[in-house]
């Protein structure tokens, strides 16, 4: 490279860098946390996840085997369902609406369970568990949909299958425990390396699903915000990086997830200003899905017209709209 070209390139680069700094200054670009290594570990988990997935690809089991296992689990939870349970009915309605987005051959069903803090879990074969406290923690149906979509993502993108592949294989020779042991060993060895990666995959799935649904995409970021506010001061301890803690964290920090999907939703709204999306605060309060209760004032449009949601302390209560 001759000196002139080099100088010109240097000037261009310096100009670009200065311009970028000005842009960052104008936009006041912030990071969700002061520092963290969870995202770096999440990226480093990608090749590990690839290797783990390779093991799933060579094991001679398929989605049909997973469904059989799911049927067993489903039967157990079906037996616990109480007729007339409003929460259960609400979840059934929501999952039915979400069924159009799924590709796996599973009869998806979400079960309302009565113990534990706000949480949701995905099990093999299309079983999702949702704690009732989660229903009280979310502030709108769009947020609850985001949570359910996240769990669907775990199942649809094979994370549950990866977790039980050896058990599924062992079932064929009627030795479930041996397989479960092999799965547990694999999980212990590798889970921390890529669990944040799989969580991010499920988050991406949830966002894609919500974007393709009738719900407000801000619900995805909002669901993480609701959980973060539920945790309260506990999340303050995560402001600075800690290599050990960040490596062993099973999920990316809620702050990052909230910031990521809030920013993406804002961008989406800028590009789709004419769209109308549903929030569903009242639907969640009344435990009636959009298909059963379509309220006009729950539809929002435009980037600046999101429904204002006031957080109220209390673990099992949803915010009430003003009279």
């Amino acid at each position: 490279m001759n000196a002139g070209l080099r100088t010109a390139l240097a000037l261009v680069l310096v100009a670009a860098g200065l311009a970028l700094m000005v842009a960052l200054y104008v936009e006041r670009v912030r990071s969700p946390l002061q520092s963290t290594l969870t995202t770096s570990f999440q990226v480093l988990g990608t090749p590990v996840k690839l290797l783990d997935r390779a093991a799933s690809r060579v094991v001679p089991v398929s989605a049909l085997d997973e469904r059989q296992l799911g049927d067993t689990i489903r039967a157990r939870y079906d037996a616990q369902v109480i007729a007339g349970d409003a929460d259960q009915a609400y979840l059934d309605a929501l999952v039915k609406d979400l069924g159009s987005f799924t590709r796996k051959p599973f009869p998806y069903r979400a079960y309302a369970i009565s113990y534990g803090p706000p949480n949701a879990m995905a099990l093999p074969g299309g079983v999702i568990l949702v704690t009732r406290t989660l229903l009280g923690t979310m502030r709108s149906e769009s947020e609850l949909i985001a949570v359910l979509a996240h769990e669907l993502g775990h199942i649809e993108r094979g994370h549950c299958f990866d977790a039980v592949r050896f058990q599924l294989l062992a079932r064929k020779i009627h030795s479930d425990r041996l397989g479960a042991l092999a799965d547990a060993a694999t999980q212990i060895l590798l889970r921390h390396a890529y669990s944040k990666t799989t969580e991010d995959e499920a988050d991406q799935y949830a966002y894609e699903l919500v974007i393709n649904s009738r719900y407000d995409p801000r619900g995805v970021g909002g669901s993480f915000g609701s959980l973060r506010q539920y945790q309260g001061s506990k999340s303050q301890t995560l402001q600075h990086a800690d290599p050990i803690r960040d490596y062993f964290a099973s999920h990316p920090p809620l702050e990052i997830r909230e910031a990521q999907f809030t920013a993406r939703a804002s961008q989406w709204w800028k590009q789709h200003a004419a769209e109308r999306r549903y929030v569903g605060q009242q639907n969640l309060v009344q435990r009636k899905a959009l298909g059963a209760l379509d309220l006009g004032d729950e539809w929002v449009s435009g980037p600046g017209r999101g429904v204002t949601m006031n957080w109220r302390s209390g673990r099992d209560s949803n915010p009430r709209p003003p009279a």
């Binding site: 860098g17 970028l20 200054y25 006041r28 002061q34 290594l37 979509a149 993108r157 990052i256």
Partner: protein
Amino acid sequence: MEWLIAIGLIWLIVRTWGDKGRIKQLGERLRVVESRLNLAGRPDETSARRAAAATAAPINAPPVPPEPTPVRRAEPPAAHSAATPAAPIPTSTPSPRAPAAPSAFEERWRQLERLFMENWTGILGVAVVVAGVTFIGIYTALRLAPFYRFLMMVGVAALLGGTAFWLRRFEHWQALSEWLRSAAAAIFLFACAASGGLPGLGLQWIDAPGPALALLAVGISVNLYLSWASAVQTFAWLHVVLSMLPLAIVPQSDVSLGIASIVALFGVALSFRARWDQHLLIVIGAYVLYHVAWYLRLRHDLDVPSLRLFAAANAIAVFATAALVHYRKDYASQKPETWPLLVHISNWGMLGLSLFLYRPAASPMRVVVLVAAGVAAYALARRARQLGVRWLHVCDTLTGQALVVAGLANLYLVVINVQFIMLAIFLECLLFLRLVIDEGEDSLGRVGWFLTNCAAALFALGGLLAAAKDVALGNANALVLLVGAAAATAAHVHLARTHAGRLRVLQTGTFPAATMGWLVGAIAIIALVNLAVRSPADEVVTMETVALIAGAVLLLVSRAMMPAGLLAGSGAMVIAAHLISWWLLLQRMPWEPVPLAGHVVPLGVLAAAAIWLAGSSGLRQLSIYLAGIDLALAAYLFFNPVSPVMPCVAWLLLSMLALELANRIERPSAVSALLLGYGYVVAFVLAYALVVIQTQAYVGPLPARMLIELFALAVIAYWWFSQPREAVAQHSAWLQAHPFFLELGLIALAVTNVVEVQAQWRPLTWSLVALCLLVPPAVRRIDERLQLYSVIFFWASVANVALIMSTFESPSAHWYDRPDLMSLAAIALQVAYVAASHSRLSPAAAQFPGGLGALDALAKRIAARRNLWVYYPFFAGLAMFLFWRFDRSLLTLLWVVEAFAMFVLSAVLRENQFRHVALAGLAICVGRLLLVDLAEADLGLRGLIFLGVGLLMLGMNAIYNRYRARFQ
């Protein structure tokens, strides 16, 4: 009973008188023996005189040198001592054989034996006599009235005294006479003291204190007279000590102390007559014991200032007088003498102890007195020097110094700031060094140098402790420390310029000549620490401003005067100023721009000044690093409050700046700038991993993170393509690190792909990157290594398609989000890569930098067996993708399509092994067609599959026949 005792005493006297004749006979016999001895040895000197002289010799008197022994005598010299008159009379016949010389133990034993016999037998004898009389007195106390008992004891004393007086006429009994006289004086003193009242003895017959004291004074006077009259110091100190003994027993008052002090002064005065160091030591020791006992008994009454002052005056009078004893020409000597030195030091020590006991409570006068005493001692030392008493000169100079330091240490009564006191001590030590360095006395000079350095070190250490404790005094302490540093600098420069030769002589292993320069730096550093820990509200000027001024001055002085160690000390200060400032700035984040500038700008100027003033020393390189870190930190502190990702971009720009700078300045600074540039890149990488990668905000329609990543890729590319001057390009820092910028760029590209690109698009992007890396102009312009890395990206694409995309699901309805379509697009690109690699992939020539030997081996393996490493992974991945992605009923048909493609490829590439694999695959497909599809697929689909498979097989046959030559 009394009568019986009186008779007994009379009998004793008569018996003693009756023994006179017997003693006379013994004296005659002794004379005969001595005359014989004189005949045998020294006829010109009487043995009696020698015996008397030997008996009166002091304890430490050197042994009488052995007389020249005639050849015919065989006895050892000690056998002729006059103290052993009963030695065997030598025969005139010489011994046939000389006895063996006494061993060291025997010699030592004889010396001890003679010491005991010559001195302590007399002392103990007196003690035993006094005790015996005491016992008799006690016994008679039960029988006689106290006054008669007094008379009886006086009588005994008179008897002993009379005996002593009578014996003085005889030369042989001189020593016994002296002891008896001392015993008599002691008994008389005891009787006088007991008359006024010794507790429990029953000898008191005077009740009024005045007469009792007067009688005691009489007894003391008698003893002091005898002390004065004695020609030897053993008797002299004995009477002085005896005189003090009853004073210690009687009830204490200022009068008793006064009398004791007069007695001690009298004893001290006797030392002026001759070199009576033993006497002086015992007298002042006894006085100290008395004084301590007096103090302990009256300590509760010493609240009265006049009494304390009186006691102190007594002590000063005694010890000050004693201190003057050695300032006589008698003691002139160039070598230290043990006894005088011991006595002198003890005297000073006891004076110090007394002054300590009577120090005025929290009065500044204490400082004045101690300093004045120190000055006086120093003046006395000069007097000793004039008199030629070298050891005294040294001793008193050090004593004076110790007293002045002690006085300054007591400044805490006046000054609150301890650091100021330590400064005063340090300055005094500097003054002391300056005073003694010209005197030519090396020992004092060494002590002065040692003390000065110790004081400076303690001054610095005290400042450090003050920084931890007196945060509120941060400014004041810093000011004091800076004054100390300035004084030390001035003194160091002065000494280096005027006394360099002397300093070389005086420096020690612990404190070489450069120590003062180092300590100047240390003191300045601690001043900065004091400024750093103070409350921000107390910040008159920033620590960095002070550091700039102090650092610039020190560096200027270092450059101009070049005193030893000062450049190192200055450099340490500059480094410490930066470290402290960085710590301070990071601790007090976030900053407003203006206050921050007040810290950062002086710091940067300090680093720049250090670069300029450090000359060609290592400090210059170090300062370049400091300046570089200052810039990086400033960027962080200014921009982080606005946007945490801005500093990362700034660091990338700084890395370019450092690279350009390295290309324009001379070595070794160019290398430092280059390393700084590397450091900025490393800082960016760390910041990216911690901050940038988690950032989710957008700048306009684009993610801010992606913009930063693209800019970073551009900067890394700029580094890679840079070709610096030979001076830099040939340096190991460039040769070893720069080649890795290619790998750094590719890793950055891969990370950007993972972070910014959605999962379903990644196989496509991996394939695109692989293809781009294989483009000949890229390989030619960048590096041959790109070929290997293109294979790795290709593998990533294949693995993604086979393992991830094969089961990946998306809820999106858009075509561009569908994993199957994206995977097919990626497979198309993979096919393109496979085709391109057939003619372009040749990584054998790639050269990998050190540490990447494994990649080198891999490149060679790929070059040797390209089909194994490129083609078969692709075919296997494709087969797996088809297996998992599509319906099993179509699987046979899809696999046959793949086998057909391989067959065609073998014809195109003239690779027979592909044909073999294709045929093997086809065989498997046919088997599956018959075993699986025939049983499971519905009829229509079955027909379609069979049709498709058949057509493909026919196609293969046609191709084979058409291009038979290619297959051969």
